[in-house]
């Protein structure tokens, strides 16, 4: 039997994960709040029915749904359950793609019974409701699983059945076709997924380039995108985000930069890569965004060297008297391990290497930022606040982003 493509999507994942450990939340309107506690990042169907959307600020959500219950996000927990789901799917399929924290693609037998069995097994063993769609290509599997939410299991195997469903789906349902691309298709009468599937392939390529053409092939049942069982290596790594308010003081801005560099180094070391340059991107309160980059003399993941580069990069990005709201540090030119080329002026510094290793070991054992730069002492509101222990939803190994 030829294996088909399956798409698994957890239903209201963050809310469902909270319900695993708090069963009393089942059936209630529940909203999970984001990193700052200001916006709903996931909502239950009960809360959605009251008009609360992803991204709704809490002050609006509480008006729409006064009885709604709000929960602080816990990305540690969500990752634990996500990996549990991944393990379960792995027992059913040898080829599984960890697309995102709540979405997997995998090869599966072309039957609704298989999809149902996996869905039920995940619900019974992990307590998580998921929806699974099986089809001839991964694009079709994703489209069809979306039609079966929540707790659905569908296998769309025949061309007639495919056409019937595609005819009722706006073309914007396809991941990768939104506003501008949809507008480009509209003059040609391409409004539904079926319209796109039936269009001339050469026209689609002309309008949507190679990516669009591949989607067209997939819509017509020709698999183009394989299951990626391993993530392709990162080309860029970055750390950063909101500055928890407005920052006008350059000392604070520098403290944030240093904090993000410490996080970036952790990530560089995990992936065993070094960077050839360091970039700093700053978003300002007036809506402007500025950036600066500094080249390194040789690839590095060392704090002192990246700090020197960051000073230059931040100076280039800095707007005097500006008020910043977001800041990212970026490692844009990654080099894999083995045989990093040293420059003529790069003298190995075993002392600094030893200090960096000790810092990493202590933080790995006792928690992130247990040992950190004194510069970050300028951010007491960040480090003294026990609610800021884990501030990023970044599951390592997932394919998406």
């Amino acid at each position: 039997m030829v294996a088909h493509f399956a798409h698994l999507d957890a239903d209201c994942y963050y809310v469902s994960a909270e319900r695993v450990r708090h069963p009393e939340l089942v059936g209630k309107p529940v909203g999970v709040l984001g990193n700052n506690g200001a916006c709903v990042i996931a909502k239950s169907y009960e809360m959605k029915a009251r008009g609360v959307k992803t991204g709704t600020p809490i002050w609006d959500a509480k008006e729409l749904c006064p009885d709604g219950v709000y929960i602080k996000r816990d990305f540690y927990w969500y990752e634990i359950l996500s990996r549990k789901m991944l393990d379960i799917v792995g027992t059913f399929s040898r080829q599984v793609e960890y697309f995102s924290i709540d979405e997997f693609f995998f090869r599966a037998e072309p039957s609704a019974r298989t999809a149902t069995a996996i869905r039920d097994h995940i619900y019974e063993t992990a307590g998580l409701p998921v929806t699974i769609g099986v089809a001839r290509t991964r694009t079709l599997a994703k489209l069809f699983s979306d039609t079966a939410k929540p707790l659905g299991a569908v296998a769309v195997l025949g061309r007639d059945h495919e056409r019937e469903l595609l005819a009722h789906m706006p073309v914007t349902e396809i991941s990768g076709i939104a506003g501008r691309r949809a507008a480009r298709l509209a003059p040609y009468g391409i409004r539904t997924c079926l319209d796109l599937a039936d269009a001339d392939g050469r026209l689609v390529q002309k309008l949507l380039t190679k990516t669009g053409y591949e989607l067209w092939l997939e819509l017509n049942g020709h698999p183009v995108t394989p299951i990626r069982t391993e993530r392709t290596p990162h080309k860029v790594l970055a750390r950063g985000g909101s500055l928890m308010g407005n920052v006008a003081d350059p000392t604070l801005l520098w403290a944030w930069t240093v904090r993000h560099i410490e996080r970036l180094i952790e990530e560089l070391r995990f992936h065993v890569v070094r960077t050839d340059a360091l970039g700093v991107q700053v978003a300002w309160k007036d809506g402007e965004s500025t950036g600066g980059v500094c080249k390194l003399s040789c690839p590095s993941d060392r704090f002192d060297e990246l700090l020197d580069a960051a000073r230059v990069a931040l100076r280039r990005a800095y707007v005097p008297h500006g008020t910043a709201t977001h800041l990212h540090v970026i490692a844009p030119e990654l080099r894999r391990a083995k045989g990093f080329q040293l420059s003529l002026f790069d003298i190995p510094d075993p002392k600094r290497e030893a200090v960096a290793a000790a810092k990493a070991a202590i933080n790995a054992r006792y928690g992130r930022f247990k040992v950190r730069s004194g510069t970050t002492l300028h951010l007491p509101k960040v480090y003294k606040d026990p609610a800021n222990d884990f501030d990023i939803c970044d599951v390592r190994g997932k394919v998406c982003f």
Binding site: E18, H22, E24, L25, G27, K28, P29, L33, N36, G37, A38, E46, I58, W59, K62, E63, P66, D67, G68, V69, Y70, I71, K72, M244, K381, D385, P386, A387, N388
Partner: protein, 163 residues
């Protein structure tokens, strides 16, 4: 003074109906405080309710006692339902022989936002002139997260969790 404080405090506690023994429900006439949230019954204890009551784990059992001194009936007690963790540490309550208690709660309410609680909040229990127990919720400066979520500058001291 009290009205101002109400805006920045946790003003409600909800406990699953199944957690409260029927005996307590009857004794304190709690039936009218039963609400339905998503098909499940819970008992809500609002600061605005009369009488103001809270459930507490005290002397090893669940009891329902008066919450604060809203009606100012007790001169020796502050006219509020909350106290600061700092003032306890500074010994300002020591003359009243206070006891630490846990206020069990499934959800807390602040500024119109119901938030999930793992176990409950910490309270301070003292006695009025007649010897009846009175509980005050212990507060601490809000974390930034809680502050953004509820727009409150003070948050209740929670049992084994930080929001």
């Amino acid at each position: 003074m009290i009205t101002e404080m109400v805006n920045i405090m946790c003003v409600g506690v909800a406990l699953a109906y199944s957690e409260l023994p029927l005996l307590l429900m009857d004794k304190h006439g709690l039936d009218e405080r039963i609400h339905d949230r998503g098909g499940e019954k819970e008992v809500r204890f609002y600061w605005a309710a009369t009488p103001t009551l809270l459930p507490v784990w005290w002397n090893g059992r669940l009891q329902v006692v008066r919450w604060g001194n809203k009606d100012r009936a007790e001169r020796k007690l502050p006219p509020t339902g909350w106290t600061w963790e700092d003032s306890i540490v500074a010994g300002k309550w020591s003359e009243l022989a206070p006891e630490p208690v846990v206020v069990p709660a499934t959800y807390g309410l602040a500024n119109g936002v119901w938030f999930k609680l793992k176990q409950g909040m910490r309270g301070l229990l003292v006695h009025d002139r007649k010897g009846a127990p009175v509980v005050f919720l212990i507060c601490q400066p809000a974390t930034r997260y809680y502050q953004v979520m509820t727009r409150s500058e003070w948050m209740p001291l929670l049992v084994d969790e930080v929001i």
